[in-house]
């Protein structure tokens, strides 16, 4: 069984696209459309890595990271931010909250991001 990834992404088209690509590459992908659902799924599924969007409906990705830090069981799961929101303050905050990397979606094809995530999970 491949590694388990939680993708928190509210854009349905993108979520579908990345899910397809990751699944084809042998990953098990769970998709959440907002932060709350993401946290619930992270607790339930305990994924190997979380791919997190920043601009999400209601609570944003930074809030998700804050909640995650307070959950002892899942706080150590590595998180990679994958967002088109390129704001220096948000980026800084995300790094302070322990994310592995802050990647800009538009710079990556699905193939490239799968390569990048595979490297993390090696």
């Amino acid at each position: 069984m491949g590694k388990k990834i939680l993708l928190i992404e509210d854009e349905k088209i993108l979520a579908e696209m990345y899910k397809d690509k990751f699944s084809k590459a042998g990953f098990k992908v769970i998709v959440a459309f907002d932060s709350k659902e993401g946290l619930a799924l992270a607790k339930k599924e305990e994924p190997d890595l979380i791919i997190l969007d920043i601009l999400l409906p209601k609570e944003n990705g930074i809030e998700f990271l804050t909640w995650l830090k307070m959950e002892p069981g899942i706080s150590s799961i590595p998180v990679v931010v994958f967002s088109n929101y390129d704001d220096p303050k948000t980026k800084k905050k995300a790094y302070q909250l322990g994310v592995k990397e802050y990647l800009i979606k538009a710079n990556y094809t699905p193939g490239k991001i799968v390569e990048k995530i595979s490297d993390y999970l090696k």
């Binding site: 088109n84 390129d86 704001d87 800009i104 538009a106 710079n107 699905p110």
Partner: protein, 535 residues
């Protein structure tokens, strides 16, 4: 009856009345103004009765005048107490309830003082200006009134200084307290300290103490330049000295000294006028400066708000633009990876064109985001010690496919010795090198790009040469400006955003680095130089 010693009475009574009338004219229906008027009129009543008490020689009236003088103390106390409650505004809701009780109490005291011998039993004229009072049995109660209500007035005012939040209101009360303090000190000096050390004449200036208090309270109520204690003090001292000089001018004996004193008084009045005028002008200028500074601060705050809103708007707008582009880019790459089956051969070119256009748009969005931040001065460098070759390697690996597609070589002539580490913002310097090499690839049709490294004195120099179209001198001049492309670029290549070299220069400026270009002429290629300080 009237002598020069009585001049302070006259001055105090008239000035007190004028100031109180002025305050009343400022707000006839305002409780504060009316209460103050009442207090000043009571004080004037006390001054008049005091004046009559010391100057009238009719034995049949002296007891009545003395009693009235004693009784005038109560309306003064009442109005001052009421003033403390209502100035600058009422904060104790219970005042209305005790007001009637206070009125009754003071009325009883007035009746007892005037119509019974319980306070003052007898007044004896000892000599000119010398009187003796024989007190009644209730005189201690009379004194107790003073010791109860005076501290109460001060306590209420002090409490209000603490309690009230507005700066102006605090200041108003401070003025009242200052006036009270100064009047008490003045009264102490003229009527206690000087007589004690043998100067009895100064006791005649005692009534002026009421004027000091009235002047300060008028200033406080009218809010006349309240924040400028300096000008009020200057006005006050000029007035006091002028009054003293005026009194002296009257009292002078010989004609010569009289002329001399009047001249001094006139000269002093002229200088005093200019002194007050100068102080006022200085304060006016300062007030104007403060006003301007306040307006500037406000404008700056608003600008900052706008600026933040603009930054956020740009971040969000570029996010919104990038999202559909990400989907297009992603699906094209998945189609090219044949995830959805093999696309027909004739689709290859259109798919490549979509891919190139999408990449161009993505780059443009990124460039515009960078430029908006550069021009707003919002770029913050994240400086760290990095290996320059790592950055160059990663750029070369990213661009090698682009060069390959155009059948160009991309050569990185890495020196054998490891390159010195540089203190830079890794991402920004990567962007600089990427933009320059990318630019070279775009403007070269045959041959390729070569990257070399040279170490200078405390600098690292990257030399990026291409075998492209080269540039004219005029083109070189405009090379690092935004939306400028070489004329060849305009003719042959249109996919450049025209922002890459401009951004590269701006990022290098932030690193105290340099960028420049040389070209031997058209068709002879170009060479770009990037210089970075090593430490």
């Amino acid at each position: 009856m009237f002598s020069i010693q009585n001049l302070p009475y006259l001055i105090s009574i008239i000035s007190n009345f004028l100031l109180a009338a002025f305050v009343l004219s400022q707000g006839k229906r305002k409780k504060v103004n009316r209460t103050f008027f009442g207090a000043v009129m009571s004080a004037n009543g006390w001054l008049i009765s005091l004046f009559l008490y010391y100057n009238l020689e009719f034995t049949q009236y002296i007891l009545w005048i003395g009693k009235i003088n004693f009784a005038m103390f109560f309306p003064i106390l009442y109005y001052l107490l009421k003033f403390a409650f209502v100035f600058p505004r009422e904060v104790f809701p219970f005042f209305k309830k005790i007001n009637t009780a206070l009125k009754i109490w003071f009325l009883i005291m007035i009746i007892l003082t005037i119509f019974t011998p319980l306070v003052a039993k007898e007044e004896i004229i000892v000599g000119p200006g010398q009187r003796k009072t024989i007190y009644g049995s209730l005189y201690p109660l009379y004194v107790i009134n003073y010791f109860v209500f005076t501290p109460l007035i001060i306590t209420i005012l002090l409490y209000k200084v603490k309690k009230l939040e507005k700066k102006i209101e605090k200041l108003q009360i401070k003025y009242v307290l200052t006036g009270l303090g100064l009047a008490m000190i003045f009264g102490f000096i003229t009527n206690i300290l000087f007589p004690f050390i043998g100067f009895f004449d100064f006791a005649n200036y005692g009534p002026l103490a009421t004027f000091i208090f009235v002047l300060f309270v008028t200033t406080a109520i009218a809010r006349h330049r309240l924040f400028e204690i300096k000008v009020v003090l200057v006005e006050f001292f000029v007035a006091v000295i002028a009054l003293i000089l005026f009194a002296q001018a009257f009292m002078a004996g010989t004609l010569l000294t009289r002329i001399l004193n009047w001249s001094v008084l006139i000269l002093f009045c002229i200088f005093g006028y200019y002194l007050i005028k100068a102080t006022l002008e200085e304060i006016k200028r300062r007030e104007e400066m403060e006003k301007i500074s306040k307006e500037l601060k406000k404008a700056y705050k608003e600008l900052k708000k706008l600026d933040e809103a603009k930054s956020e708007f740009i971040s969000i707008a570029s996010h919104q633009l990038r999202t559909p582009l990400t989907a297009i880019k992603g699906y094209i790459s998945l189609i090219n990876e044949k995830i959805y089956g093999r696309p027909p051969r004739r689709m290859k070119k259109p798919l490549n064109n979509i891919h190139t256009s999408t990449e161009r748009l993505i780059k443009l969005v990124g460039d515009l985001l960078n430029i908006s931040r550069i021009e707003a001065g919002k770029v913050k460098l994240n400086i760290e010690k990095v290996k320059l070759e790592d950055i160059i390697n990663s750029v070369v690996s990213e661009l090698k496919n682009l060069a390959k597609e155009k059948k160009l070589y991309l050569k990185w002539e890495k020196p054998r010795k490891p390159l010195p580490k540089v203190l830079v913002d890794k991402d920004r310097i990567r962007q600089v090198i990427l933009n320059v090499i990318d630019n070279g690839i775009r403007y070269t049709e045959r041959g390729g790009i070569t990257i070399r490294y040279r170490k200078g004195n405390k600098i690292s120099k990257l030399i990026i040469s291409d075998t492209g179209e080269g540039m004219t001198k005029k083109e070189m001049l405009n090379l690092f400006r935004s939306f400028t492309r070489g004329s060849i670029g305009q003719r042959t290549w249109t996919e450049g955003t025209g922002l890459g070299l401009y951004i590269a220069k701006k990022f290098l400026d932030l690193h105290n680095g340099k960028i420049w270009a040389k070209s031997p002429g058209k068709g002879k290629g170009s060479t770009f130089y990037i210089e970075l300080p090593i430490e």
